[in-house]
């Protein structure tokens, strides 16, 4: 019977261990942010104008995170519509416009100094090591978002689906290479 109890206990322990480590990650993230904003005042003197102040880094990273979340939320809503038999084109149009608008803002979301060194983020340091490649992929995303927005406005469902698949491909190309697996 001991073996049976062990069999039952093992999964529970592994879940507990998993959620425990997630909680501590979140706490670490918060700790990082507060340390960053305190040390920002000290850092400005020596790195004047050359480096982003850490307070700004935190603000941009937050904006980036919220922006990506909003893009994802819209993409999910659109994906659901397009997978169904009669897509609600109002949802598709609204989401497409919002994604296109946020995609233009994304140009300012990745200044140097907003990587994992500045706090909790899924942005990999490779972004700043392969800047040219990253910029190409970001540019492709912006192009795909604009093309999808145009298709959404046309109301032509097959065209919308084709452009949406291309947009997904552009998101994925960048995420596969430059986003760390995040558990939040």
């Amino acid at each position: 019977m001991r073996a049976v109890l062990f069999a039952l206990a093992l999964p529970l322990v592994s879940i507990a261990a998993c959620s425990g480590s997630q909680t501590s990650q979140i706490h670490n993230g918060q700790a990082n942010v507060s340390t960053d904003s305190r040390s920002a005042e000290n850092a400005t003197g020596s790195n004047l104008e050359l480096r982003l102040s850490l307070g700004d880094a935190t603000r941009i990273m937050h904006e980036r995170h919220e922006g990506m979340e909003t893009i994802g939320k819209n993409a999910k809503a659109i994906n659901r519509e397009l997978a169904g038999p009669s897509p609600d084109l109002a949802v598709v149009r609204g989401g497409a416009a919002q994604i296109a608008e946020l995609s233009t803002k994304a140009s300012g979301w990745f200044p140097e100094g907003t990587g994992p060194e500045a706090g909790k983020t899924g942005a990999k340091p490779d972004i700043w090591q392969n800047r040219a490649d990253f910029e190409t992929k970001l540019h492709n995303f912006q192009g795909a978002a604009a093309a999808f927005d145009a298709a959404a406005k046309s109301g032509d469902v097959p065209r919308i689906k084709a452009r949406f698949a291309e947009l997904g491909g552009a998101c994925k190309a960048c995420h596969d290479k430059y986003r760390a697996e995040m558990h939040h």
């Binding site: 093992l10 322990v13 993409a75 999910k76 659901r80 995420h175």
Partner: protein, 235 residues
């Protein structure tokens, strides 16, 4: 001890008894199910960690087919694959642990492991079916039956539940290693289907090949219906 048959009562399927006859205990459907499931679980894990979410979803659908097949085969298959043939109560588990159980196929303790593994895989498949990825690119075939927020929660649970599955797999492998150390090899029997049985044990009653084909056809039909988004149930 020469000439005296070793009665080893703790061992999943095969009671290896020196000088016993080599006999079929696991039929082909059970063995194919087992190895395909093992391979697809590894592939599912690998594909999702290497950004092949589309392959991951197809792999999950294939696992769904296997699961449905195995459940059907658990009612219409060979004697060692039928649930009524191996699922026993706590008293039988106790008897087995005291060395008082004799038979072929899953022993009463191993049966609990089989049920736990099947249930854990079924939960994992069900969560995957209604999940969606975090970017709005991929959806499980039944994701539209729930809300977007519920699909996100299903993804989180799908990812956490893998640890439960992994725990059971580790336990499964540890049990095989434990029996191996005690001189009872289980792996070869799951490959060849055969093991040495004691003289007085009843042999496996084989299932019908056409019953296996019907079970497979039903499993594929249900999977296709699920992939299509479960029409007529989904509004």
């Amino acid at each position: 001890m020469q000439g005296v048959p070793r009665q080893i009562s703790c061992g999943d399927a095969p009671l290896s008894v020196e000088g016993g006859r080599s006999q079929l205990v696991w039929d082909l459907p059970v063995r194919l199910f087992h190895w395909l499931l093992a391979a697809l679980i590894v592939f599912s894990w690998w594909s999702v960690h290497h950004h092949h979410t589309d392959w991951h979803i197809w792999s999950g659908c294939a696992i769904l087919t296997l699961l449905i097949f195995r459940i059907l085969w658990g009612f219409f298959g060979s004697s060692t694959s039928r649930f009524t043939g191996f699922v026993r109560g706590p008293r039988a588990v106790g008897a087995y642990l005291r060395g008082e159980w004799f038979g072929i196929g899953h022993n009463p303790l191993g049966a609990l492991s089989v049920l736990a593994l099947l249930a854990a895989v079924a939960v994992q498949v069900a969560l995957g079916l209604v999940a969606q990825d975090e970017d709005g690119i991929y959806m499980g075939p039944l994701a539209r039956l729930v809300t977007s927020d519920q699909s996100d929660k299903a993804r989180a649970l799908h990812s956490a539940w893998f640890n439960v599955l992994l725990g059971l797999i580790v336990l499964h492998l540890a049990a095989i290693a434990f029996y191996k150390v005690r001189g009872i090899g289980l792996t070869r029997a799951m490959i060849s289907g055969k093991t040495d049985l004691g003289a007085n044990l009843p042999p496996m009653r084989a299932g019908k090949w056409w019953a296996a084909l019907i079970c497979l056809a039903i499993a594929i039909a249900i999977t296709r219906w699920v992939i299509a988004g479960a029409p007529h149930v989904a509004s």
